[in-house]
Amino acid sequence: MSEVLRVEKPGLFTTLQDLGRLSAMSAGVPTGGAMDRFAHRAANLLAGNDEGAATLECTLNGPTLVALRACLVAITGADFDPQVNGEAAPMWTGVFLSEGDQVGFAGRRWGARAYVAVAGGIAGNRWLGSLSTNLLAERGGMHGRPLAAGDVIIASGVPAGPTIAGRQLGPDDRPSYAVHTLPAIAGPHVRSLDSKSRKALFGSGFRVSRDADRMGYRLEGPTLDVTGDELLSFGLVAGAVQVPRSGQPILLMADHGTAGGYPVVATVASAAMPLAAQLLPGDELSFSEVSVEGALRLRATQRAALDSLKS
């Protein structure tokens, strides 16, 4: 345990996240965890950590951090123009900081969420097996709340892997964030859509509404007509596209409610969830139908990119 960074400015909404608490779902507690798990995992690997270590998830803008000792950090995900001592700092790269160095973000260029990993992994309050912040329960992460000015980031241990600064994940190995077509697998209740609505689901454009947060995004676009009786509530997953009576679909994200009874007409491929995590209100998106096998191929490609950081 060592103090590595002091928070000068917390940023708009910066929380500690890891890979979530799947085990707590049977108590109705959302899994939580990093919205863009690719960026989260990559940041950790670039900092020499296990993929599951906690990182900072920075929303819309980034914090200002001062190094309390020499350390290695990695910044991935959305591009908020990261800087070290006022000079542009590379993203998707292990960056060595000396004591007193200042990390800041000059402004958002694209995307919604950037991730900051620190060699050794960030320490925090563990709740139900995870360091992820749950705001509703006020548990996990940094005392169950977003970062605040004056907080001190503590590295939880000795870095798990080689802490070689300058390691990089090239653009070709990252998800194609500029593409807003999300491959999705037809859902259990896709048949409750009439043929026109099914065509609209996989053929039309939608827009992320203002009602979009870590729980999910309400989408605007063609109305999807669902027919049939109300469903008995069942367990939900992140990436599920639910259609409530209004006909305006909801894409479930990391902090989604664990159960519900709206028809699930599609589920976004796990490899496309990082893309979804980087969308903002007003962004256009569409769904393209993919088979389970096709989705697993996309997943394997991302896995290989991450594994290349381990060697």
Binding site: L22, S23, A24, M25, S26, A27, G28, V29, P30, W127, L128, L136, A137, E138, R139, I185, A186, G187, P188, D229, E230, L231, L232, S233, F234, G235, L236, V237, G239, A240, G257, T258, A259, G260, V264, T267, V268, A269, S270, A271, V292, A295, L296, R299
Partner: protein, 218 residues
């Protein structure tokens, strides 16, 4: 004597590339729910299953696609579900005191054509089953509610329902564990805490438990 062959047919559906939904039926039925809870418990023991959540009559299975294919897991689920279900053990009984002074009591009474005393009598009569825990932390879907109390959800959901509110909708009843939005009819309140963030599991109810309400003066 050979065990009777089960006639339960399980349908499995992809829920993305790392989860599937196994549907045992589509009716609100205690026997189906018992089977779902037993199936979830059996699935949780598998190394390739990361989580299994029982719904009313279904199980949502999160699996590791590096360890098992969707088809192989679906076949395993069908085998497990065709086994004779274990004897249903009675779940723990929770006794919940309720002050029946909810803000919707008058409206509910008017719609149902019953007086408040009758609503209290009907609501406190059954021992309810916790069909599943989910939606928000600690929420239990309880039922079945007596038919006389059945009514659709509110037209306009409330943006904030106080924690501890006792509510009804359809053939279900429940208690809001936290201040959250909600569309059910509020008929009472309880001081019993349902979400216990510093316990593990962090909730009072577990699927299969039983719940009895008691009227107390406000």
């Amino acid at each position: 004597m050979p065990a009777p062959r089960s006639t339960t047919r399980v349908r499995t559906y992809a829920l993305g590339d790392a989860a599937l939904l196994a549907e045992l039926g589509t009716r609100l039925d205690t026997a189906l729910n018992t089977r779902a809870i037993a199936l979830a418990a059996a699935l949780k023991k598998r190394r390739d299953v990361r989580q299994a959540i029982a719904g009313y009559a279904s199980v949502t299975v999160h699996f590791d696609p590096d360890l098992v294919t969707h088809d192989a897991l679906a076949a395993a689920i069908k085998r497990l579900a065709s086994k004779r279900p274990p004897m249903a053990e009675p779940g723990r009984l929770h006794r919940i005191p309720v002050v029946y002074d909810g803000p919707d009591m008058e409206a509910v009474a008017a719609v149902l054509g019953l007086d408040a005393a009758k609503i209290v009598e009907l609501h406190t009569r059954p021992i309810y089953r916790v069909f599943l825990v989910g939606f928000v932390p600690g929420w239990g879907y309880l039922g079945p509610l007596p038919e006389e109390l059945e009514l659709p959800r509110r037209q306009v959901p409330r943006t904030k329902v106080p924690a501890g509110s006792v509510a009804i909708a359809g053939r279900q009843t429940g208690i809001y564990p936290l201040a959250t939005p909600g569309g059910w009819h509020l008929i009472g309140r309880t001081s019993v805490k349902l979400f216990l963030p510093d316990s593990d599991p962090p909730c009072l109810f577990r699927a299969g438990d039983r719940v009895k309400f008691f009227a107390i003066p406000g």
